[in-house]
């Protein structure tokens, strides 16, 4: 499982994070590819080529979180 820091920033379009809330999902379109990279608010990432499958992964993902708080 990749995390934000491991991804090459050069592969991703600007800008970096835009919303500042606690529970922000982020989906970035990897440059020069058809690949989407989705980040849960906990920092875990997932790659997919289908936005519907991506949202399903993101929305299901928090079920595996430690429910003691955000961040990760």
């Amino acid at each position: 499982m990749a995390v934000v820091e491991e991804l090459e920033r050069a592969e991703l379009p600007p800008p970096s994070r835009m919303l500042n809330g606690r529970s922000v999902y982020r989906i970035v379109w990897k440059l020069n590819t058809d690949v989407l990279i989705g980040y849960c608010w906990c920092g875990e990432a997932h790659e997919d080529i289908d936005p519907i499958a991506m949202w399903e992964w993101l929305l299901a993902h928090p079920d595996t979180h430690d429910t003691s708080g955000a961040g990760g």
Partner: protein, 358 residues
Amino acid sequence: MPSWPINQWYVAAYSSEVTPDGLLGRTVCNEPLAMYRTSEGEPVALADRCVHRRYPLSMSHLVEDQVVCGYHGFTYDKGGSCVAAPGQKRIPRTARVPSYVLHEQDSLVWVWIGDNDRADTTSVPRSPWLDDSGYTTVRGMEPLKARYGLLVDNLLDLSHETYLHGGYIGTPEVAETPITTEVDEEANVVYVSRHMADAACPPFYAKSTGIEGRITRWQDIEYHPPCLYLLHSRIAPVGVLPPEEGPDDQAFHVEVVYAITPETEHSTHDFWMVARDFALDDDEVSAFLAENNRTVVLQDVTALDVLEVVVEGEKENYQELSINIDTGGLAARRLLAKLVEQGDPEPAAPATPAAAAR
């Protein structure tokens, strides 16, 4: 259950439309409203049906801040209570029409659709440019014979600009440039960003800004479902980025605002506004932007009116296809579905972050 969320704020009118000189009739979320402004400046919305024989109060008269029904003269105060009935002194106890909670902010009149006791004016989303002396705004409103969800889909995916609005705001780079999408689950905001580093300048911006040559064009969408859509548009000569510190004064900023207000299940009020931070006193630029933006909006209206007929006539379980450009639109649909289910005006404040995302 309606297709829109209740216990939410919706834009009912521009402030300039609500006056002490007469009544404005407009249906919002299947609720017919009669709106006016008192002599003290307070906006008022009453149900647009006289309690007596249903005559629309919007077709009636204002006398000293009271509405006198144009059919038989039943007279209502600003709270909807009947204060006079024709030919008799006794006013029946049930003689009142519902009144609505309004909130006026940023040159918009918002109406609370839901339980009046739950109206919280602090949750009305902001669009301060519309009422700021540092900006000049042009605006209009077009009736749309299509469900509001089709306009949400349209505005959340601007790649359609390349094909539907070529020659106005669309250039090839819009559809070619990847987007980044964010969703704040607690605040219920969708953000879709498309930053074009080196793009052709469409006539809409070339003629209004005077930029010749290619541009760095940023489109940052902020959608506050259900009603308010903000497009922060930044245009600058190619390669000109905001400075690390200080004002971004080498760029042109246009704040495009839409209020997406359902009228019925199959029609929508398409309020559009274009606020700019340049050429503030230039009437020619204002006229150009107003005319061109209206043309663009009408291109959308034509397309969405057709789509409404298509959607109404399609077979059950028609399976549409979504690709990468739809990431933001899918997020907006999901948040709307969540709000419909909740019927809840509060930004979701669940006990645990995990619960927020379900």
